[in-house]
Structures are given as structure tokens and as C-alpha cells.
Symmetry: C2
Subunit: 238 residues, 2 copies
DNA sequence: TCAAAAGTGTTCTGCATACACCCATGT
DNA sequence: ACATGGGTGTATGCAGAACACTTTTGA
């Protein structure tokens, strides 16, 4: 009976091992006014010269996460990058050469860090404004859209926005970030009141330099405090 | 140079197609007082006689979602079951016979529907209280835990709780559901006030039958209204 | 002295919370 | 008539929203 066949697939033979699995990574960076995504230009068919999400096949001896870490490291030179698994895509026709599943991740990094690590000369990689993404290779537009949505969801409920700013930042920079990502304006005083009430920022005592107006205070995000609060049931929310 | 190798994996050969991909499904049902999960008992090694999550290999010509729909249909007899992709697991050693990735889903169904469709005689399937899950096959305990967390997250922000109740239900049943899933008590009057303010329930005009106390009104969830409201930016939240 | 952005408090409104009694039915 | 859960309103507190002027710096 047909029902017998399923749920017990672990008696499978070598014939069952004929799929391929990759990761694709939507790498977000924020650039004073604009959210950007790091794309690479394909040097081969199919989709020659199309922009695509960076990714790679998963190696036989590495986990999914390790695969993403490896690609991020090779592309950006950075090791400790925030990343989050989003969704797996595996439609039948998504890859011309066979059945390839891809696990999509997004990750966040400070463009200021990235620019210090130009170890990616070998591949043409470029930041694109998320507002001006053209047609990407394969189903990467769909993957990108899904990751963007997930980022927006997460940014409201986790303090991951700080991953996109320099280590020391002003409150106005923080507010601009949220306004850009969430596409809505915030009242300056209320925004500061809310941020302040969370007690998650450390006043560095430093000020902005060489701006032609009153210099703003520089703050750092207090990771330790956040970890402590979170254990006590605290929920970040903007 | 090494960096050349990656990002251009699409020149791969048959050697790259040697992984296997499955789906596993955490099927939740709610039973007047308790959240349950549908497990199947393995009839073969490895993990003979262990309880496991229902799942199957993805067929060459079906999408990931289709694969889940197929398994749910074969196991429960139901076609339109709420489901949500949660996460993909692919640690190197998770399966003894080779590299098997599995895409985890959770799904929600009314146990009352399920019991009318006993098409799963061929496989030993049983509802287990989520509080009393023993040691499951493979990494299924981890998968289960991840899906349970995701369910709890989603239940607060989407009106999916109704998928677990009969089509017509009382407000007390609804409250019990939320109290069970979120593990916190709600004030009866405030709970009703909140539900009422959303205007998402339809009073069927019917009453409970043969209860030895004042019979409660029966309500239905208004799917159309919810879809409309959602388009207007409405966010369900409990 | 001007331009440009930083910084700061109060009032109002609405929503979450806390809380106790009468009602309808079956036995 | 009694036991059982169903059903209802009000007062209080707190957090989000609206809102405008003074301060500091460089040019």
C-alpha cells in the first residue's frame, strides 16, 4: 500500500543521493543614507554578466552555517558577521543543471568594516542600493525579496540594526537607519525617549569631529547588558 | 586563486549531485486541554521502534511545499492544512546513510477533522502531548523544539490559533488555547475585550448543546474580513 | 552672524490592567 | 435549589503621540 512507502525512507539507496544543495547570502550594509546589498557579477553561463547573490555549494564536510561563514569570510574578509537563516528554495526548475536546493541567509555588516578588507579582488562584487536591484540570476530576485522582508521583521524585534552602524554612532544616525529600513519617519524626541528607556546604549563621552554644526554625542551598543536583560525576559521592540 | 572557485559553482558536474533532501513535519493538534503533536513509529533500523516526525524524501518532480502537502495528505487525509516552513537542518552526521538535508515544517490542524480521516492505518501514528515527548529518532528533538518555538512566536502575531479549533468554538475554548500555547493566564474580561475589538469573529447565533451549565455562544473566524484588514495594514496581535 | 543639526519636556489620549457579580442551564 | 461555567463594565495607570525652542559648532 502506498502509505507504507513514506515515513520510512531511511532504507534508501545510492539512487536517492542525486540532489545538490547550496547557500545563497543576502549581505546587507548601510551607508549613511541607504540600505545596500552586496552582489557579485557572474563570469560564466548561464546568466553571464548578470548580478547574483553570492553563494556556493555546501561542501561534504561542513554544516550549512559553516558554509555561509566560509563564503562571507572569503568575500568580505570578515569573520564575525551577523547572519540568520531565512528560507530554503527548491523549485524543480530553478537551476538548469539539475535539482539544486539553496538555503537562503541574510547577513548584516558595517560597510566601514568591509571597506578595510578588500580581499575580494578576484570577484567583481559591488554594493547596490536595495531600491535599485535589477534582474538577478536564477530565482535570486525572489530570494532577495524574502530576505528583505525577514530583515524588516527582525529589525523591529531584535537589536540587529546596530550591526549596520559603525561601533560608535550618533542617535541621529540610528534614527536614520530605522527610518530607512522601516520606511516611516519617527519623531526625534520620542525616538530618543524610547531608545533611552531601554538603557542599552553606552555614552562614549566622545563627540563627532569636524562637522559644521553642533557635534553629536557618540554611543556604543551594550551587548552584555542586552544579553542580561534578554535572559530576564526583556523584549527589544521599536 | 581560491576565491575564484566560489560564487561560480554553476559549472558543476554530476559529482556535485550526491546529496539527498527530505522534509519533516511537526503536525500540531489541540485537544480541549492540551497541545499535541503527531508522531509515527519507525518500523525499521536505524531507530527501530523509536518515535519520529513524519517526513519523506522530496521527489524529483515536486517542490518542497508539494512534498509536505503530499505527506500531510497521505498521513491525515487532509488537503488544506496550514503549514509554514521553519528551518533547514543539514549537519554532517545527522543521517547515517549519507548527507541528508531536511526542510522542517510545522503544520496545524483540527484534531476533530483528523479523526474523521483515518487513512493512516498503515503507519502507526499517534498524538503525543508536547509536554511528554520522549527521545525521537535522528535530530528530531532539535527539529521539534525549533518548530515549537516558531509556533509560539507565530501564534502571537498571526491568527493561526483558529486552525487548531473546530470551525465553531466558544470564547472560553479560544482563551484556553492561548493560555496553553503561551503558558500564561489571561483575564477573561480583558481577553474578550481584545478579541472583540478586532471584529474578526462571526457570531453564529448557535449555542453549545447539552452542557450542564449556561451554554456558551459559538463563533466562527472571519477569514475574509481578516484578509481585507491585513491589506489595510492591520496586524493581529495577542 | 548665520546656517545646520543637536538636544531637550510636557500634555494628551488611548490602550492594557485589575477586579466581582449576575445569568442560564442541567441535575 | 444548587452547582457549573458564561457573560458583562468601570476605574486606574502607563506608554505612545504630538509638538517648538534653545544650544553648539564651523564657516
Amino acid at each position: 500500500m502506498y502509505v507504507h512507502k513514506i515515513y520510512f525512507f531511511y532504507t534508501m539507496i545510492a539512487d536517492n543521493f542525486n540532489y545538490s544543495v547550496s547557500i545563497d547570502c543576502v549581505i546587507f550594509g548601510y551607508d549613511t543614507t541607504d540600505l545596500k546589498v552586496l552582489l557579485i557579477k557572474r563570469g560564466e553561463e548561464p546568466y553571464l554578466n548578470h548580478w547574483a547573490l553570492p553563494g556556493d555549494l555546501i561542501n561534504p564536510k561542513e554544516s550549512i552555517d559553516q558554509s555561509v561563514i566560509r563564503v562571507l569570510k572569503e568575500l568580505t574578509g570578515l569573520s564575525k558577521v551577523y547572519m540568520e537563516q531565512v528560507k530554503t528554495f527548491g523549485d524543480v526548475g530553478r537551476h538548469p543543471l539539475g535539482r539544486v536546493f539553496t538555503v537562503a541567509y541574510y547577513s548584516l555588516l558595517k560597510i566601514s568594516d568591509y571597506e578595510l578588507n578588500p580581499s575580494s579582488f578576484a570577484v567583481e562584487a559591488k554594493w547596490h542600493s536595495v531600491k535599485r536591484i535589477g534582474e538577478l540570476a536564477f530565482d535570486h530576485n525572489k530570494i532577495f525579496a524574502t530576505c528583505k522582508e525577514k530583515l524588516v521583521e527582525s529589525i523591529k524585534r531584535k537589536p540587529i540594526g546596530f550591526e549596520l552602524l559603525p561601533k560608535e554612532f550618533t542617535l541621529t544616525e540610528l534614527q536614520n537607519l530605522y527610518e530607512t529600513l522601516l520606511q516611516e519617519p519617527f519623531d526625534k524626541r520620542n525616538f530618543r525617549k524610547k531608545i533611552n528607556s531601554m538603557k542599552l546604549l553606552i555614552d562614549t563621552g566622545k563627540l563627532q569631529k569636524s562637522v559644521s554644526h553642533r557635534p553629536a554625542k557618540l554611543y556604543r551598543f551594550d551587548n552584555n547588558k542586552y544579553d542580561t536583560l534578554k535572559k530576564g525576559g526583556f523584549n527589544f521592540e521599536i
